[in-house]
C-alpha cells in the first residue's frame, strides 16, 4: 500500500476538564475498509469520532484526509470535505418531515423560496438508493427509532461521503433492518468508501469488520484483524482476562420458584406472552435486542409497565396488580438502566440516593420520623460495602464518577431486605474495575439466596454471570439456555432467529 490512507490520525490528544479523553492516538482508515473501533464506554471512542466528524478539534496532533492535513471546525465543514457521521444522538427535528430533515441546513432553493418539490425528490432518490421504505412526507416524530436511524443515515449520504462514521448504528434496529444496514455497509465498502464503525457486538465485527482498533482509557492499545478471538478482544479492551472480571458462579440452586411469570402481556404490546420463573439464589439473564421486551418484562413485574394480561406470582401469591411500593414491601426491587433518567436524584447526596427505596423501613426511624443518625450510619455502612470512592456519602451524587454513581444505585438493594432483585443494564457506562465490583456483589447476593433477574445487552455479562438465560425476541421468550448451553453462538443465534418465517 504505497498511497496515503484515506483518513489518518497522528498523535491526536484531546483533554476535557479533568480527563485526558484521548492520549496521543494514531489511527488509520483505508479506502474500502470497515474499521471497527472497540472499547469500553469512556475509552475514547466517542471523542475520536467527534474529532473526525468536526464536532470538536484536537488539542494536539493532526488529522489527514487522503494525505492532506485538515482541521474541521464544524460538522458542516467535515461533511463538505467528504466525512459524514451518524451519531447515536439524533440530529433530527421531530416536527419536520423526513424530506425536510434530510435537506436541513442545505435546502434546495428557487430564488428566495424553498423548493419543496426538489427537496422531496432528493429525499426520495436517497431513500430508494439506500433501500429504506420511508415516506418523505412523514413527520419524524411519528417514526420508530429504527426509522429515525434510517433518516439520520440518509442525511449522512446526501453529500456522497468518502468517509462514513457509524456509531452503533444497529443498536435500535430490528434484525431485518440491521441486516439491510449491514448489506449497505458492504456495498459502500465495495464502492471504496472508508467506514469507521463503532460496535460492541462480536457478531457484527465478524460479519463486516476488516480491522479492529482497540481503545482503553484514551489510549490506542492495538489494531488487530477482525478475526481475532473474542477472548483476545476482551483482554485487549479491559486489560484483564474474563476470569479476572467475573467471579466464580455458585452452582445453580434447586428448589421452588420464588417468582413465577405466566403469559405476561403488557398493554403497550412490548411483551406478548412471556413465561418464566426464578428460584432463590438463581441468576437469570434476560438477553435480546433493544426493544425485544426484556426490559419491559422486568418493569411489568415491578408494576411500572401496565400489564394487559397474564399472571405474576411471588411465593405462589398473585402480585400482578401491585404498585412498586407494595412490591418493595414484599422484597422485590427493580433498578433501572438509565441512572440520570430514572435512577438517581442527581442534585441530592449519595446518602439520600442510597436510602431512597428504604424510606418505609422501620430501621430508619419510628412512625413518620426519619432518624438522621440512623440514616447516616446506614449510609456509611453501605458506602463501605460498595467501596464508594470517595467514601463521602454526603457528597452530591452528580460529583461522583459514573461507576460510583452506579454503585450507589446498586446500594439500594442492600438498604433493605431484597429477595428478588431485578437489575436492568447494571453496568452501562462504568469502568472495568467497577464492573468487577458490581459482579462480585451480584454473586455475593445470589449466594445469600437473592433471586436475581439480570436484564442485559452486554453479552459477556449474560454469558458469564448467569445460571440460566432467556433470549427475548419481539416480546416473547425465544429460547431458554441453561448452564453449559450458554454460549455466544447459541445466544446470538436466538437474537435474530425465525425472523424470515
Amino acid at each position: 500500500m504505497g498511497e496515503a490512507p484515506l483518513l489518518e490520525l497522528r498523535g491526536v490528544s484531546k483533554a476535557y476538564p479533568g480527563v485526558l479523553a484521548l492520549d496521543r492516538v494514531d489511527f488509520e482508515l483505508r479506502a474500502g475498509e470497515v474499521h471497527v473501533l472497540f472499547g469500553e464506554n469512556g475509552a475514547g471512542k466517542s471523542t475520536l469520532i467527534s474529532l473526525v466528524a468536526g464536532v470538536q478539534t484536537p488539542d494536539t496532533g493532526e488529522i489527514r484526509l487522503a494525505g492532506a492535513p485538515v482541521r474541521f471546525t464544524s460538522v458542516h465543514e467535515a461533511r463538505a470535505a467528504g466525512v459524514s457521521a451518524v451519531f447515536q444522538e439524533f440530529s433530527l427535528v421531530p416536527q419536520l418531515t423526513v424530506a425536510e430533515n434530510i435537506v436541513l441546513g442545505d435546502e434546495p432553493r428557487r430564488g428566495i423560496w424553498l423548493d419543496v418539490a426538489a427537496a422531496r425528490r432528493i429525499a426520495r432518490e436517497l431513500l430508494d438508493r439506500l433501500g429504506f421504505a420511508l415516506d418523505p412526507d412523514a413527520k419524524v416524530e411519528g417514526l420508530s427509532r429504527a426509522e429515525q436511524q434510517m433518516v439520520e443515515i440518509a442525511k449522512a449520504f446526501r453529500t456522497e461521503p468518502r468517509v462514513l462514521v457509524l456509531d452503533e448504528p444497529t443498536a435500535s434496529l430490528t434484525e431485518r433492518e440491521a441486516r439491510r444496514l449491514l448489506g449497505l455497509v458492504d456495498q459502500l465498502r465495495n464502492q471504496g468508501v472508508g467506514i469507521l464503525y463503532i460496535t460492541h457486538r462480536m457478531g457484527e465485527i465478524r460479519r463486516i469488520g476488516d480491522r479492529v482498533t482497540v481503545l482503553r482509557d484514551g489510549r490506542k492499545i492495538a489494531t488487530v484483524p477482525a478475526s481475532t478471538s473474542e477472548d483476545d478482544l476482551v483482554r485487549l479492551m479491559t486489560g484483564r482476562t474474563i476470569e479476572q472480571i467475573f467471579p466464580a458462579l455458585p452452582p445453580r440452586p434447586d428448589g421452588d420458584p420464588v417468582l413465577e411469570v405466566e403469559e405476561l402481556r403488557t398493554r403497550t404490546g412490548s411483551v406478548v406472552g412471556a413465561s418464566f420463573s426464578l428460584r432463590a439464589g438463581e441468576i437469570l439473564g434476560l438477553a435480546g435486542l433493544v426493544g425485544s421486551g426484556k426490559s419491559e418484562a422486568a418493569r411489568a413485574v415491578f408494576g411500572v409497565e401496565p400489564i394487559a394480561s397474564g399472571r405474576v406470582r411471588l411465593d405462589g401469591l398473585p402480585v400482578d396488580t401491585l404498585a412498586p411500593a407494595a412490591m418493595l414491601a414484599r422484597g422485590v426491587l427493580y433498578l433501572p438502566p438509565d441512572r440520570r433518567e430514572e435512577g438517581l436524584a442527581m442534585v441530592r447526596p449519595a446518602r439520600e440516593n442510597m436510602t431512597m427505596a428504604a424510606l418505609d423501613r422501620p430501621e430508619l426511624g419510628p412512625g413518620p420520623w426519619l432518624g438522621r443518625f440512623r440514616e447516616a450510619r446506614l449510609a456509611h455502612e453501605l458506602a463501605r460495602r460498595i467501596e464508594l470512592r470517595p467514601a463521602a456519602p454526603e457528597r452530591t451524587i452528580e460529583l461522583f464518577s459514573g461507576g460510583n454513581q452506579q454503585k450507589v444505585l446498586l446500594a439500594r438493594s442492600l438498604a433493605r431486605p431484597v429477595r428478588v432483585l431485578m437489575l436492568d443494564e447494571p453496568t452501562v457506562g462504568v469502568d472495568m474495575a467497577t464492573r468487577a465490583a458490581i459482579y462480585r456483589l451480584v454473586v455475593e447476593l445470589a449466594e445469600k439466596g437473592t433471586a436475581t433477574l439480570l436484564v442485559s445487552s452486554d453479552l459477556p455479562e449474560i454469558l458469564h454471570l448467569c445460571h440460566r438465560v432467556l433470549v427475548f425476541h419481539r416480546g416473547r421468550v425465544q429460547a431458554e439456555l441453561v448452564g453449559a448451553e450458554i454460549g455466544e453462538e447459541a445466544v446470538l443465534q436466538h437474537f435474530f432467529e425465525r425472523e424470515a418465517a
Binding site: S13, A15, Y16, P17, G18, L20, D59, T60, F302, V304, A323, P324, A325, M327, L328, A329, Y334, L335, P336, E341, E342, G343, L344, A345, M346, V347, R348, E352, N353, M356, A357, L359, D360, L364, G365, P368, W369, L370, R372, L399, R412
Partner: protein
C-alpha cells in the same frame, strides 16, 4: 501542554488566583444570597443612617413575617419541581372569607369575640386550603403543569374573592383579632413573629426529620427515580400544594389581623416576591434543592431591600422594577453557580 495546564490548575497558583478560587467555592457552597446581603447592607446603610438601627431592623422582621410564611409554602412547591402562582389569591381569599365569617359571627355573638375569631379563622383557612386542594388534584392526579394549574386557580380564586365582596374591604371583625394577632405581643415579642418562628420550626422538623420531608426532595430530585423507589409521588405532590396553601392561608390571616380588614387586593405581589425569596435563597427551579434556613434569609432580604428603598425614598413604582430585576438576577446567579460547580468538578 496538557500536563502544564493541569499543573497550573492543581498547584502553583498566585494569591489572586487563589482568592478567586476561594470566592468561587464560597459562591458554589452558599449561593448568591450572602453576597447580595452584604451589598444591600452596605448600600442602604450609606444611603440612610436610620437603616442600621435596632428599631428599623425589628421593623423589617415584623414586616417580613407574611412574605416569610408564604415563602415557606412556596419552597415546598419549588422543592418538588413545581411552583405556586396562586399564593396571592390564596392570601386574598383567606382574608375575604375569614373576615366576612368573623364579622358575621361577631354580629351574631358580640359577647364572644374568641368564638368569632375561631370561626372566622377556620373559614378563612378552609377557603384558602381549598385552592391548594384544587391545585394538588390538578397537578398530582390529572398531570396539569403547575404553571397552568396554579395560574388558572389564581384567576378562579381572585374572581371569587372579588365576587364575594364586590371589591369592597370587609369590616366588622372583633377588635380583639387585630389587637392580638396584628399588634399584640407575648413577653415583648410580637405575636406574628412568634407564629412565624413556630412555623419555621415546624418546617424544619417536617423537611429534615420526616419521611414525607425526604419525599419532597426525592420527588423534585427525580420524579421517576422516586416512583421506582416506592414513593407515592402523587400523594406527595398533592400534599405539597395543600401544605403550601395552608401556610399561605395562615399568612393571610395574620395579614388580615394586621390590616384589620378583609381585602381581595392584598397579595397581588406575593407570587413574584415569594418565588424571588426562594430562588435568591438557592432553592432550585428544577426542584430537589433548597433549605428552610436560607429561605428565611431570602424573605428577610427581600423585605430588607424594600425597607432600604423606602428609607432612601425610592419611588414605589421603581421598587417593583428592582424586585423584578432581583428575581432575574437570582436565576442568572443560579445558572452561573451550576457552571462554576462544573468547573470545580474538573
Amino acid at each position: 501542554m496538557i500536563e502544564t495546564e493541569r499543573a497550573g490548575i492543581a498547584g502553583g497558583a498566585g494569591p489572586a488566583e487563589r482568592l478567586r478560587l476561594l470566592l468561587v467555592r464560597l459562591f458554589v457552597r452558599l449561593g448568591v444570597l450572602p453576597f447580595l446581603l452584604i451589598v444591600a447592607i452596605i448600600v442602604f446603610a450609606s444611603l440612610s443612617e436610620n437603616f442600621l438601627t435596632v428599631r428599623n431592623l425589628t421593623n423589617v422582621v415584623r414586616q417580613a413575617v407574611y412574605l416569610l410564611i408564604v415563602s415557606l409554602g412556596q419552597m415546598l412547591a419549588l422543592l418538588t419541581g413545581g411552583f405556586d402562582l396562586s399564593v396571592g389569591t390564596i392570601l386574598a381569599l383567606t382574608s375575604v372569607v375569614g373576615a366576612s365569617a368573623m364579622a358575621a359571627a361577631h354580629a351574631a355573638f358580640p359577647d364572644f369575640p374568641w368564638l368569632s375569631i375561631a370561626l372566622g379563622a377556620g373559614a378563612g383557612l378552609a377557603a384558602g386550603t381549598a385552592i391548594g386542594v384544587a391545585n394538588g388534584l390538578g397537578v398530582a392526579l390529572f398531570g396539569v403543569s403547575p404553571f397552568i394549574m396554579t395560574l388558572g386557580m389564581a384567576s378562579v380564586g381572585f374572581g371569587i374573592a372579588l365576587y364575594l365582596t364586590g371589591g369592597v374591604p370587609v369590616y366588622g371583625m372583633p377588635v380583639l383579632f387585630g389587637e392580638v394577632f396584628g399588634f399584640g405581643d407575648l413577653l415583648g415579642v410580637p405575636i406574628p413573629i412568634l407564629v412565624a418562628a413556630l412555623l419555621v420550626l415546624l418546617m424544619f422538623v417536617l423537611v429534615y426529620r420526616t419521611r414525607l420531608g425526604r419525599a419532597f426532595y426525592a420527588v423534585g430530585g427525580n420524579l421517576k427515580a422516586a416512583r421506582l423507589s416506592g414513593i407515592d409521588t402523587r400523594r406527595v405532590l398533592f400534599t405539597t400544594y395543600v401544605l403550601c396553601a395552608l401556610l399561605t392561608s395562615i399568612g393571610g390571616l395574620l395579614l388580615t389581623a394586621r390590616l384589620d380588614t378583609g381585602e381581595a387586593n392584598i397579595g397581588a405581589s406575593m407570587p413574584l416576591e415569594s418565588i424571588a425569596a426562594c430562588v435568591i435563597a438557592g432553592v432550585s427551579l428544577r426542584g430537589g434543592v433548597g433549605r428552610v434556613e436560607n429561605v428565611v434569609l431570602g424573605a428577610l432580604f427581600i423585605v430588607l431591600v424594600q425597607n432600604g428603598m423606602n428609607l432612601a425614598r425610592i419611588e414605589s413604582y421603581l421598587q417593583t422594577v428592582v424586585l423584578g430585576l432581583l428575581l432575574i438576577l437570582a436565576v442568572i446567579a443560579d445558572q452561573l453557580r451550576l457552571r462554576a460547580m462544573a468547573s470545580l468538578r474538573a
